[in-house]
């Protein structure tokens, strides 16, 4: 499903974010991506969504080399991915419902069908009763769950999460992880970056560890 082959990424200024990274993630697999901050976790996720492009090596998603995709094809790649951003990227000028609606509007979804889907997504993350609220009025954990609802409303086959439990206490973190596990059970491929040890203790989940841009084996 996701395949890195000898991927290098160097940022302008000379910082080498990723060095010779190679790995494969099978369809329906759930994988943790761990490492200290600055180890290249966010860069790796950005390469999958073609927010960044690799300097060398290939990044395949669904057997498609996303590093060489034309700009015009990027939107269609991203519609297949659910991305949970480290900084949430919620829109504060609209309520919870409309935040989740945005991906469906982008895909040109039928209006009535969209409403059902949005509510289903909000229900899954336990925010159904807050659909009229402004994101500002939500707690940190609720904002994170809203971000998840927006990522899954499109029913993507791949879910990328960048530090989804970043600033949450362990109780909230467990809730979030429970949500992810439920997606795993229905066959979604998940790649979750985190440096949270309590999350990583979760048994039976494969773990990729980055150290200064290199994958540890």
């Amino acid at each position: 499903m996701i395949s890195f082959n000898q991927v290098n990424k160097r940022y302008p200024g000379g910082h080498e974010a990723l060095k010779h990274v190679s790995f494969d993630i099978a369809e329906g697999e759930m994988v943790f991506l761990s490492g200290h901050s600055g180890a290249g976790k966010s860069t790796l996720l950005k390469l999958i969504a073609a927010i960044e492009r690799p300097d060398s090596g290939s990044v395949l998603v669904n057997n498609q080399n996303v590093g060489t995709l034309k700009d015009g094809a990027l939107p269609y790649l991203r519609r297949n991915l659910g991305i949970i951003f480290q900084d949430h990227k919620l829109l504060f000028d609209r309520n919870v419902f409309d935040n989740v609606l945005l991906p469906l509007q982008i895909c040109g979804f039928d209006h009535r069908e969209s409403g059902k889907r949005v509510r289903a997504a909000l229900d899954k993350v336990g925010l159904l009763k807050r659909e009229k609220a402004s994101p500002v009025a939500l707690s940190g954990g609720e904002q994170q769950r809203l971000c998840i609802a927006r990522a899954i409303v499109n029913r993507p086959s791949i879910l990328l999460a960048d530090e989804p439990t970043g600033n949450l206490d362990s109780e909230y973190a467990q809730e979030i992880m429970a949500i992810f596990r439920s997606f795993h059970q229905v066959g979604v491929t998940l790649l979750i970056s985190t440096h949270d040890e309590s999350v990583l203790q979760d048994g039976g989940v494969r773990r990729l560890t980055l150290k200064q841009g290199e994958l540890q084996s």
Binding site: Y76, K89, D93, L102, I106, H111, N154
Partner: protein
């Protein structure tokens, strides 16, 4: 494309909401656009009216040929034949000196004066209706006919109309220059308005692109906004021009009555009005397109 149509009502509603939210700033923008467009449009309307006036007075062009006083019937017959065979001449009318005198007697009430003359002072004359219209071919034809034997003087009757026509041509050029400059101004106004909007919606644009929005999706609301603002500006310009012409009509009516004529300014024709609206809409659209395009290219480079 199908998607664009399906989203039309939603996008349009959003755009109208946004317009209403900043209605004061929007009102002034539209006013500026309207005033800018009303200058060339108004000038154009005046020119159209002037042209109508000229057409009304000049009619079809004629060349009058006055013959020598001592021309004999044989001379005039030969000349008549020569003229009918000339390729540049469409139709010839011959007026004998006696006919001409009779006409003057009837029309001007100068019977006494004419009667007091002991001989007819008028020459025989031909009136030529040329095949071709236009200032230059007519002038060449006049010069040619003036050289024919027996012709004393050739006069182009609509000479003044052509001089005025040339002046109007100059006016039309001025309108074109003015319209081009102010169109650029209109594009600039829209460009800036949209740029400000983009800045306030930067987050939305960024998020939308990250979760799979095409450039078309990002552009659409801004393009609608630009086109709509241009359209409202065009409507404002039309109102200004129409109100201006109606206002001018009153003093002009008094003036034309003093010259014993009836002349009123006509408002912009329907086709011209539609062109004005479509053009201003297009310019607004173009300004928005340039503005969003620049922003998208800029953020692409930052990536």
């Amino acid at each position: 494309m199908k998607q664009a149509f399906a989203q039309y009502p939603r996008v349009m509603r959003n755009v109208l909401q946004r317009m209403f939210a900043s209605r004061l700033a929007g009102f002034f923008n539209i006013l500026v656009i309207g005033i800018a467009l009303s200058l060339p449009a108004g000038l154009y309307a005046l020119l159209q009216n002037a042209q109508g006036l000229i057409a009304q007075f000049s009619g079809s062009p004629q060349i009058s040929l006055f013959l020598n006083m001592d021309a004999t019937t044989g001379d005039t017959d030969r000349l008549h034949k020569q003229l009918t065979q000339h390729p540049g001449v469409g139709h010839v009318e011959f007026i004998t000196r006696a006919q001409a005198l009779e006409q003057i007697k009837q029309s001007n009430g100068l019977t006494d004066v004419i009667g007091s003359l002991n001989r007819n002072p008028l020459p025989d004359a031909f009136i030529i209706y040329p095949e071709q219209d236009g200032a230059e071919p007519l002038e060449t034809l006049r010069n040619e006919l003036a050289k024919l034997p027996g012709v004393e003087h050739a006069q182009l009757d609509s000479d003044w109309a052509y001089k005025l026509e040339a002046l109007l041509e100059f006016g039309r050029l001025a309108v074109l220059v003015l319209a081009s400059l102010l169109s650029l101004a209109l594009i600039a106004i829209t460009f800036n308005t949209i740029r400000l909007q983009i800045l306030t919606q930067r987050d939305e644009i960024e998020v939308a692109r990250l979760i799979g929005a095409t450039n078309g999706f990002i552009r659409r609301p801004f393009l609608y906004f630009g086109a709509l603002q241009g359209l409202f500006g065009g409507i404002t310009a039309w109102l200004i021009v129409t109100a201006g012409l109606l206002l001018l009509n009153h003093p002009l009516g008094t003036l034309s009555r003093l010259y014993a004529s009836q002349f009123t300014l006509h408002p912009l024709a329907v086709s011209d009005s539609l062109s004005l609206l479509l053009f201003s809409m297009y310019l607004g659209w173009l300004g928005a397109w340039l503005s969003v395009g620049r922003h998208l290219a800029q953020t692409d480079r930052c990536r």
